[in-house]
Amino acid sequence: MSGAVVDVDEKRCKGCGICLTLCPRRVFNPDERGKVKVSRPERCTGCLICDNLCPDLAITVHRAKEGREGGRVRPPAV
């Protein structure tokens, strides 16, 4: 049971590899151009590491319960 829906904006992604390496659930894979695509969406838990650390502001994580209309998952305040 996945916790969240993750989207990658292909136009913005520059393929820096941060999300590929830091995703603890290995949701992403590079495509033939080196950009990132979501290859295992069902594994996403919505931890937000990719969303927060994407330097290209290309990744969005939504709550799975309501789907993409349910809005972006927000990090807790420190």
């Binding site: 136009k11 520059k14 994407c54 330097p55 290209d56 998952v73 990090p75 807790p76």
Partner: protein, 259 residues
């Protein structure tokens, strides 16, 4: 909430011009989150930027922004704030922009203690011009103008600003983005001059010369190298080697004069 991020970005300017893996985008994301959390009226926020990679950040924000001259962002921002004190003014500068070209503006803006929030994107190098050393390049780091490693010590930027009179000083890294968002938010709320040093990783001009590796390695370096200030102070002396403190360095002190 997706719209929240997007409504702060100028869509026609995306994707941005920063290199793959440049931490400036993460600082921009933190700034947007801080602005959103404060629920400020967008018409009442002005973002002033200097020159360099960091200076381009203002151009991506869908707010009233001003791309000023090299090192003079704080001078422009002081003018904006004095002309209309109701505005919230955020100043985005790079490390060279803030401490070398605009070093005098920085210390005097801190001394005057006008209600500005300065965010210094510290990528340890002059990135846009090809990797020359800046006053915040760590000692022994290699730069185009220091091929054998720089012999000079960098500024301790938050302490410099505090010594010059800033009421709120803090430091965070792009890896510790939640702390960064909190510091930026607290800096904006602070009624006097606030400075937040945002440590970002430049994989192209700094990382490549110093063999620090990919953007991910840069983030890992930040994770391992920076320790929250209270924890840092409680470390035994031998463990402090190779570590640097981050967080809010001093309790905020009120503005030097009523705002």
């Amino acid at each position: 909430m997706q719209e929240v991020l997007e409504e702060y970005l100028r869509q026609d300017m995306m994707p941005h011009m920063w290199c793959a893996g440049c931490g400036n985008g993460i600082v921009l994301h933190s700034l947007i989150r801080a602005l959103h959390d404060l629920a400020l009226e967008k018409e009442k926020v002005v973002v002033v930027a200097g020159i360099g990679c960091a200076g381009r950040a203002a151009g991506y924000l869908n707010l009233d922004t001003l791309h000023s001259t090299h090192g003079r962002a704080l001078a422009f921002a002081t003018g904006v704030k004095l002309a209309n004190p109701d505005l919230t003014v955020v100043v985005l500068m790079g490390d060279g922009d803030a401490t070398a070209i605009g070093g005098n503006h920085l210390i005097h803006a801190a001394r005057r203690d006008i209600d500005l929030t300065a965010i210094v994107f510290n990528n340890s190098i002059y990135g846009m011009t090809g990797g020359q050393q800046s006053p915040l390049t760590p000692q022994k780091s290699i730069a185009t103008t220091a091929p054998g490693g720089t012999t000079q010590r960098p500024f301790d930027l938050p302490q410099l600003a505090r010594g010059a009179g800033a009421g709120f000083v803090g430091r965070s890294t792009t890896f510790h983005h939640q702390l960064m968002t909190r510091l930026i938010g607290d800096g904006i709320t602070h009624p006097g001059f606030a400075l937040v040093e945002a440590i970002t990783y430049c994989p192209t001009a700094f990382g490549r010369q110093n063999k620090m590796g990919s953007p991910v390695e840069g983030l890992r370096w930040q994770r391992d190298h920076f320790v929250e200030i209270n924890k840092f102070l409680s470390l035994p002396e031998e463990d402090k080697k190779g570590k640097e403190p981050m967080g809010q360095f001093h309790p905020a002190k009120g503005p030097a004069w009523p705002h």
